[in-house]
Symmetry: C2
Subunit: 198 residues, 2 copies
């Protein structure tokens, strides 16, 4: 939340994100957030109704960032006609600003640990990770097949594999089991190697 880091509200959001992602949502107390910001517990409630409201505001903010960084489907479909499949796959990546990139992984991690108890966390993950599969990858692959650019493949299954891969990467960022970025690049390439150009 660099955009509003100067306001108290922005500082609360920033501190909460840091604490939620290291200690977990449940284990983070409002007192801990207040202490990190340098204010009193009671003051937080001038800005947010509850601890969950802070989390949901983070979801809101990063969902917006996600939307902004999202590649446009119509542009991708145009690229399919002129570029190699390989080139198009590279364009499928989200172009987050550097600061957002790290934080959005953290938010996905926090949300992923709440999927059993919190419908809004489920919704956040679904809308911002899984739905892209339906809406971006599948049409792109289908168009590639239509144009005879690649061998036939189950585009739905492929999308599921790819997205699950991203999901896991995000879920274990900032943990001892975080896989190294260079290895993720290799395994992502591997998944794309499922698709054989014609």
């Amino acid at each position: 939340m660099a955009r509003k880091a100067e306001t108290t509200k922005g500082r609360i959001l920033k501190a909460a994100l840091a604490l939620f992602s290291t200690d977990g949502f449940d284990a983070t107390s409002m007192r801990a957030i207040a202490k990190a910001v340098g204010i009193n517990v009671g003051s937080i409630y001038n800005h947010f109704d509850s601890k969950e409201a802070i989390l949901y505001r983070l979801y809101e903010y990063y969902a917006e960032q996600h939307r902004k960084a999202r590649p446009q489907l119509d542009e991708l479909l145009k690229l399919v006609e002129t570029q190699s499949p390989q080139k198009v796959f590279e364009t499928l990546e989200y172009g987050y600003p550097p600061e957002v990139s790290e934080n959005i992984s953290r938010v996905f991690m926090i949300a992923s640990r709440r999927v059993n108890t919190d419908p809004i966390s489920i919704q956040f993950i679904r809308e911002n990770l899984f739905d892209d599969g339906e809406e971006l990858i599948i049409p792109v692959l289908d168009k590639m097949m239509e144009l005879g650019r690649i061998e036939p493949i189950d585009s739905r299954l492929f999308a599921e594999i790819l997205i699950y891969h991203s999901f896991c990467a995000a879920s274990y960022s900032n943990t001892p089991f975080r896989i190294q970025p260079e290895n993720w690049r290799v395994s992502r390439k591997l998944i794309f190697s499922l698709i054989r150009p014609r």
Copy 2:
């Protein structure tokens, strides 16, 4: 814990596993466990010192099951000499009893959400998931290369990819984002397709 389901201790462990894996460790109270078992809260402390002690006993039990189901390295290495790489890969799977198979995934899921706060949970995952990479997959691949059975490959990186894949499967079992078993089989096959027989 079917083995001891008849004792109160066993029933506590069984109920705790169920609750931890649906509601999460933090959100599960001792009262909820007691209620599920049909005893009073205080009675639990006759069997376990703390809530964490229950979890750690689960770790202990399923680590033992994991050890039992683990393929033997020397046998695998013998297989490498006589069987096709494909056949050997199939033997790399753990042969859990059906009831254990489902529960062990749940235990990994619980542990995976505690990796930021609990060293014992980290240790459980490391010992029972990641170390196998070092100790099983890498030697097997290295031997295959030595015998000229497969094209050269970075066995360490391959092991990391494969194990991370299993880890994620376990971490999201029992959640709305659980990938379907048949799709996991496909994506696992994909990973093994990295290895090219000679």
